[in-house]
Symmetry: D3
Subunit: 302 residues, 6 copies
């Protein structure tokens, strides 16, 4: 008899469900607005990214059997679907931008549409930047043998493509979606580039795992980074009440042609002059002039 | 003629299959018990985690269209399914706990059921801890703008949620499943927290890639870590026969409110006093008192 | 009326599609050959790897309900399917090997077949190496409790299995596929081992995130590495025109029984003598003799 | 050269696409309204039906592992999702009801919501009718052994459940969706019941293939039909211009307890009196009184 | 305000869920036993059928790229999986056989195993019968051009294969599963053969839609049927209380080499003598001698 | 001990696999050619049909959210993919056409390509015929309310679309694929139209279950059929050796504007004159002149 009850009520579900509701609504409430808003969806964003990647490099990221006569249909169709989905996700994201007046909610649909159209118009410029990144990879890694290898096997290039897309959305006014995309890239590649960072053409990260680039970093042209490089903030400015000031410029500026080797940590609003090389594992918190060559002093004990 | 034979026997499959059987059963046997036991399944665990995440934060990790009247049904259903699956995976895992007497196999089903029920009863406490982690992220990162951004885009928070679940299972007596969950989190986020570690409320990891926290580490409240921080063992104690002693206390203790910056390595059973700050890339193997501020001496050569 | 046009032409698709075609074919063309070649497919490779993993360890990576009478059928079937797919992917990859004369294209199908057959014949040797890696993990990590835990929960072991497969393909003459596999492993585990590296039996990486092992590295038997270890190149040799010389020997040699702790960076064609230990975060660019014990000098300022 | 062109333009896609556009927009246009309306989706309807079936008979059509404590969560969740989807499909369908004024389009969302709520409120009455149908099957077929066999293996019962749902939607004002559901049932079971037909409790069709029941047919209680029975119209009334008059009463009335054997054809607005039996293959176009027993005269030639 | 409530409680879910529970448990209860039993699953059965079909005709129903060396692995693996699943489904079905004593439940697992083993042992005999059916199709239809066309495009042959499998399970003691399979075939092909029917080798149904063959029918060798043929019961014998007597012999016996054309209805325990031909649409309720040629008298009015 | 063996060898798989091989290769061999040929795939054909349906009626069978600017990309992409797949399936089918010389195998690829191109060129004509069928449905069924209802809910129209596609392939020289498509339609709709039949514009089948139209039938314009109508062969001509003569003209000719009601059977190479009406269940084996009105004499016994 006890067994039968046990069989049919194994987990005290009603109690657990009630406890969780109480946690959501009273004791550990995290929702600040009175109303549920539909959140952007990771699954939808991954599909959208698949569509945009396929539009930019149809034979590498789309279908390998495309022909001259079918390729534009493929691109147009992939884009048409991806842009429709993107518009919906942008709309959902607008609720989370502090700069958006929720009283304007009725206009969010049209606003999302507009942002999406602007994004679409930038796609060939985005592609141009990515091609410059691919060329940087081809010339920067002695192990690289072809453009195809780079598009298929280089996580740093995958991270760069995600960044180029996320940055465009960030600038257009969709920061939550941009961050979501950068996190998807981070999860796949181990490279964490904040979409607010500004990065010039010809950008290459080799290996990539552990690279972190902060929100206000500015990188010139032809920057090359290796795994585990941090371009971070030294400290976080606080206001008089001790609250963090959001958005302050706090990350490094790298001028053109800088190379930073694996594990180096560059912190604060400093400037690395053009053509400088920062050695592996270096810890750097002060600006250096152009053409500097910084390396870690070696101090080994047997 | 040769072609035909070639076409139909391209890979010498019977030979390869026989070689692999010989490898499994004789030359490179890794199975120690006489009998095959059904192993826990990664796919099942990922589904279970999906169900538990959805139960804890239904609109963020479940469905975005839930209403007040549908949300409890959603939570109860997601939990009911996840707990059933979890009970089966726990049962499978029991065979791998050295502390379980295989003679007691007949009781594993009921034991798994009991563990699952206890886990269910802890879910709202687990949620409370996770909410404290989310709040720590919101106050600890100047770039964070909303709870939703944190739940969707912060790998450190995702790693913390996985850890909270895995640690509960670890304590209840399901260490293999707990490790499996921590490895799933590691693969997604680059953060590797052993489920045996003890971590207080308000835990936040920023960026996260490369963080490693060992099995016997103890972290107080409001700990903040950055990417690539290691809380590891300095050496592994061996017994008289030179075998590693499993389970010995060998990882650091962090008191409340400690902050450790990117790339720092803290090794051994040392104590970092409350409110201390450990700088980036610091290598630390000795205890430091409360309110310490440790940073790497900079030794740069041009 | 305007609305209607807007509704039906929201994204100026024809313009965007035309711009992207122009970018592909004129302004930012990356295709060097006149003809599209079918590229290897990540999805196909992931299926192939699933099949090979399942063939090597059927109950861990295949089905958990296999019996003595069904296991060989399972292995033979999984292999038969995986090898067929692999042969097709190898064929596609042959177009990207600089050493292949495209005039020989007609022979690529038979060549791919041959390579696949040779790969199949090596599978039990590959399994033997992997079993040595598993045993190294079991004896090298005090937290490890069973072979099953290691196969299911150790990213370093997963990376090693991927490497063993990729290296075999690399040696047989399929470098693009080998790289593709190493990148899939990198994405899952955070461990980046170039398939050209040579690694002896009993290889173990603990935690693993951020490990990088370069193309020409040579590792002896029983090597143990921790997270974020780099075995990299110091500089890239250039030819007289300033172009990188591809393929030169530029990565370290590790003799048998070397251990390298977390975050250490070992660069250049140096030799680490047998039985040496390299401490965490060490930066090493010169050879060390056998039985060396290198650790970072600690220079901390308060 | 020709080959290359052929390879890249195998199908003259631009010509075919242009021809199809011309066919759609000019020569064979079938769209009467100026604007595309989103159509109901077969895939969505099949999911909705799955959810409703599961809500009505949770262990037969939902999950077989439900317990007393989980079953209501399962039902509530399945219903919540299905009703949300249904509301959207009803909204789409409203555009196709001639009785709906398209000027009222702005109210379609609320109207669909209302219809869905009314449908939800009828679900337990619908279940009661279906249970009467199941009991009729159990008592009417000597081969039937259990309720489970009937729910799982009787196409006539499956058709009846589909009809009960479709008829409720038809009455509530969603005729297109109702027809769509009846066609889904037809495709699965070979039984074609127009959702406009009125059928009393205890309805049973055995075998079922080829049964057709017309839009204005009225069936009393405890009707039993066999395969290939037609309850059709004899002729279609036309108006003065020779156009078919839609909706006129033109199908038979069956009073309570009528049985009609396989292949019988009953046409026109005739009445079959209570308790009558119509034999196999009978062709009937005139009313018959209660308790009639009609059979085909047998005229065989050797 | 009303809107908000409406938004969050659109469907009165708690009321509907409570009503449905009441319907299930009180007003329209259909469950007779006190305990829920796990029901056989249509999805599982469809997978099992896929596996058995693939085992019997590997290149037609399995994979089209099998080779001499891979085919046995494919068959063994497909069978191993299918038989395991079948054993579980048979076990579930045992609860529904009136002849099984529920007190024997503990033995159901072993019993299901035994039945499955016996079924496996019969598979090559089943294949022999199916090949005789295929040959009958090839010689019986002037439009048939190859064995492959018959296996891929003939619903009557598909129905026959399903029947051969279902009948074997029926004889072994798994009538519910057998019925379930016959219903799956019915849904796909429109042919409804009760698994209890006994049918000799060389059986062919052309077109097939609407064919019904009853539980106690006996068909000799080389029977050919066309669409819409019914081999049914004339009346259902009742016991003294007016209840249907289940299982009584009530369907026709067809001796060898009988042909029955489209739409003919043959009812009751009559015998059609060897080599007889029954014309289209004939209605037959009396036995006929061997070599009879029965056709419908034609009575047409202009 | 016995149990353990039983556990691991439950099904005597090696014996069953060997028996099945023997059945395939010796006792019940059905393969006539020495070599396995890759068979057309039902799954592939269903995808191809999905693509062609979507190309012909993009908003009904493709995506419901298409706009004026996206629709041609959608159509071009869906067609490009479907035609590529079709070409491969046609190639496979060529091996089964008796008229193809297997010595010409090397040319099959180009031949399949050619047939596919011709098929593509006919698509807009096919669409024109289908639109005429839709209009016939709209004017022929008093219950029909819109073109959308007809495209979504009328199995007879679905069968007609399948037939139009299959017939085009049949004429182009791909009879096996054509038959395969007609069988897919048969399974979904219960309507069995041989692709060799010739059918004029404005063709409508109502309800449809059980309709059979033979290989050499010829139907004029504006034919209307109801469920269970057979247009079949009376007898099959044999050659002097008693073998069926394949391909002989043996099915009816229907002149324009003929209507045939449910269940009528029309057999043999007879002609039904223009504008004739054949009543339900009529059995007709002789030609009738134009404007005939044939109905079944009613012979009822009480």
């Amino acid at each position: 008899m006890t067994t039968k009850i046990y069989e049919n009520h194994p987990y005290q579900l009603p109690q657990v469900v009630a406890d969780l509701r109480k946690s959501r609504e009273e004791t550990h409430k995290i929702r600040h607005l009175g109303r549920v808003r539909e959140l952007p969806s990771r699954h939808a964003l991954e599909e959208i990214l698949g569509g945009i990647f396929a539009s930019l490099f149809p034979t590498h990221y789309g279908r390998s059997d495309l022909t001259d006569e079918s390729i534009d249909y493929f691109v147009g169709n992939a884009l048409g679907i991806a842009l429709n989905q993107l518009s919906e996700q942008i709309r959902r994201g607008l609720y989370f931008s502090s700069s958006n007046d929720l009283e304007q909610e009725a206009k969010f649909d049209a606003l999302a549409h507009d942002l999406t159209s602007q994004f679409a118009a930038e796609l060939s410029s985005i592609r141009a930047l990515i091609v410059s990144d691919i060329r940087a990879a081809l010339s920067g890694d002695p192990a690289a043998t072809s453009v195809s290898e780079i598009l298929l096997c280089y996580p740093g290039v995958s991270a760069a493509i995600h960044y180029r897309i996320a940055h465009a959305l960030y600038k257009l006014g969709s920061p939550l979606l941009a961050r979501f995309i950068s996190e998807i890239a981070h999860s796949k590649t181990g490279v964490d580039i904040h979409p607010g960072a500004q990065i010039g053409e010809g950008f290459f990260i080799d290996h990539g795992t552990g690279v972190v680039i902060g929100q206000t970093a500015i990188l010139g042209k032809n920057i090359r980074l290796y795994q585990a490089v941090t371009l971070g903030a030294k400290r976080f400015p606080e206001d008089d009440d001790g609250n963090l000031i959001k958005g302050a410029e706090r990350h490094p500026i790298l001028e053109d042609d800088v190379v930073i080797y694996a594990g180096a940590t560059v912190l604060g609003r400093i400037t690395i002059g053009a053509r400088s090389t920062i050695g592996g594992n270096v810890w750097l918190t002060k600006s250096v002039t152009s053409d500097s060559n910084i390396s870690q002093a070696q101090t080994l004990g047997h």
